[in-house]
């Protein structure tokens, strides 16, 4: 009998079941204004939830499923072979290491540049400030492949900087070009990340308390001391937020790497797993590890630091 399974739920289970039914009941057939409000919140969140379920949660679950499948192309059985490969093969360890230092290094460098840029834009009365803001924000809309092309224009064989140095030193431009190298890639990442970091920091700077800075100045603090002891503590949440954002951006960069394929990182390796022999199991395991890592990293960053959420 089917009924026997539901025959005697424990009293606590029954109480919570009653509560769940009550919530559903109040959403479907609201009596109080609070019920109606609950129904509205459900209705407002529903379209987004449906999109996330169809386009996000279900595909990701499928990826997790295939990554622990015993067979290569079908989700059957259970096997951790793909993860074993990822965690024991030194090749993947190097790929992971590449991703982490590239993203970490460029995040630090970009935020390091963005702090003085935001400082100048928000604190100094510069001529044409609106134009400068627009120019600094413009690269946000450029995809990684275009960022890579910009670096080719500056540092490639035909690059502006390359050829200026070639003219000055008398050496061949092709010997000086660094666009297609790890350092070129580093600069290309920074090209994408500096504008985003600046955007966040400008927001933080606009909330800085000017009175405290002026008070420090009038007490004889030098500009550097004022920055170090008064301004910096106030913009720290913005700096943490910008570091989290740029680090995540750095891990996700892919287009830049398609153009400048010099360092093998996690995202590029995922696409190679698919391109050579459609190794969806390992690609799936890599995607799962990546997703869990960034999710944990973001949740940790937002929970345990004073960072502000940003895109």
């Amino acid at each position: 009998m089917l009924g026997e399974y539901t025959d005697r739920p424990g009293p606590r289970l029954r109480a919570s079941a009653v509560r769940v039914v009550a919530v559903f009941g109040s959403v479907l057939n609201p009596v109080t204004e609070r019920d109606r409000r609950r129904r509205r919140v459900v209705a407002l969140c529903a379209p987004f939830a449906i999109l996330v379920a169809i386009a996000g949660a279900y595909p990701l679950l499928e990826v997790v499923r295939i990554s622990v499948s015993a067979e290569q192309y079908r989700s059957v059985g259970f096997s951790l072979a793909a993860y074993e490969t990822l965690f024991t093969d030194p090749y993947y360890r190097e790929v992971a290491f590449n991703s982490l230092w590239l993203a970490g290094g460029t995040a630090l460098a970009s935020v390091g540049v963005a702090v003085p840029v935001a400082h100048a834009l928000e604190k100094y009365d510069l001529p044409g400030e609106d134009v400068l803001v627009t120019l600094v924000s413009f690269p946000i809309s450029l995809p990684g492949i275009v960022a890579a092309f910009m670096i080719l224009v500056l540092l490639g064989n035909n690059g502006l900087v390359t050829n200026l140095f070639a003219m000055l030193t008398g050496r061949a431009a092709t010997d000086l070009a660094i666009a297609v190298s790890a350092s070129g890639l580093f600069v290309a990442f920074c090209y994408s990340m500096i504008p985003r970091a600046t955007l966040i920091l400008r927001g933080t700077y606009s909330e800085v308390d000017h009175a405290a800075e002026e008070a420090a100045q009038s007490l004889g603090a030098t500009p550097w001391q004022t920055f170090r002891h008064v301004t910096f503590p106030q913009i720290r949440p913005g700096i943490t937020g910008a570091l989290i954002l740029t680090f995540r951006t750095g891990l996700a960069i892919f287009g830049t790497l398609i153009v400048i394929q010099t360092v093998l990182v996690w995202t590029l390796q995922i696409s190679r797993e698919l391109a050579t022999g459609y190794n969806i199991q390992v690609a799936g395991a890599m995607a799962t590890v990546y997703f869990l890592f960034t999710f944990a990293f973001t949740a940790f960053g937002l929970r345990y630091t004073d960072a502000e959420v940003g895109l």
């Binding site: 009596v31 109080t32 204004e33 609070r34 109606r36």
Partner: protein, 246 residues
């Protein structure tokens, strides 16, 4: 217009009792002020009358009809806020006519009634303007006209004068007071300002910590406060006499 009756209304939010057993009757054509410090439950009480909060216990009735569970859009109440909350996507006339449109009143009639109200409030020439271009006092008049246009059972005013400068406040107070008397509006007027309450209202309910401490005419409340709280709260920076209506 209608008689408003609150019967032992309670509203609890988790552990806090925001309104703790309020019973009050506002007679047809009467303006009752709800006076008290911030957090005393006066705004929550007003919101239960409007229908934005369903009381945890007790009932709200308009005349003989129990409206405790009727949603706000079916209650026919007029609302005027401190923040005006005009609809910036419509003209001034569009704002005033909005309630009539929701009731299916035809276009020409809507227009005529909106213009009539705007004239009455002295801003007839502003009808085609964008509300954001109006001054604070003018915006508040539009807010009042919008609420009056639906001929509400009760007009609820939530600190409508707060934020206006003293001179404008005094002028608007006299004008609006006269208009409400003339239109014979039933009103509930929430404020933390004793002077305003005493000048605008027929009776005053002084609230503290979710309860009504005293209900009476302004003179009764001022001259014979029922509790220590009332005497302290009302005596505190006592308004300049004479009062206009008692």
């Amino acid at each position: 217009m209608a008689r408003i009756t609150l019967d032992s209304v309670r509203k609890r939010y988790g552990e806090t009792m925001a309104v703790d057993g309020v019973s009050l009757t506002v007679d047809d054509g009467e303006i009752v002020g709800m006076l008290g410090p911030s957090g005393c439950g006066k705004t929550t009480t007003l919101r239960t009358v409007a229908g934005f909060e369903t009381p945890t216990a007790g009932t709200v009735s308009f005349d003989e009809r129990d409206v405790t569970h009727v949603p706000p859009e079916n209650r026919n109440v007029g609302l005027v806020f401190q923040e005006y909350a005009l609809f910036d996507n419509m003209t001034v006339r569009g704002n005033v006519a909005f309630g009539l449109k929701m009731r299916g009143v035809g276009k020409s009639e809507r227009r005529a009634r909106a213009d009539e109200l705007l004239d009455m409030l002295g801003i007839g020439e502003m009808a085609d303007r964008d509300p954001t271009t109006l001054s604070g006092g003018q915006q508040q008049r539009v807010g009042l006209a919008r609420a009056l246009a639906i001929e509400p059972s009760v007009l609820l005013l939530d600190e409508p004068m707060t934020g206006l400068d003293a001179k404008l406040k005094a002028r608007l107070r006299d004008e609006v007071g006269d208009l409400l008397t003339e239109l014979d509006v039933t009103g509930l007027y929430v404020t933390h300002d004793q002077e305003e309450a005493m000048l605008m209202c027929d009776r005053i309910a002084v609230m503290n910590e979710g309860r009504i401490e005293q209900v009476g005419t302004p003179r009764e409340v001022y001259e014979s406060p029922a509790t220590e709280f009332v005497s302290e709260f009302v005596a505190l920076d006592a308004p300049d006499l004479p009062f206009v209506r008692w």
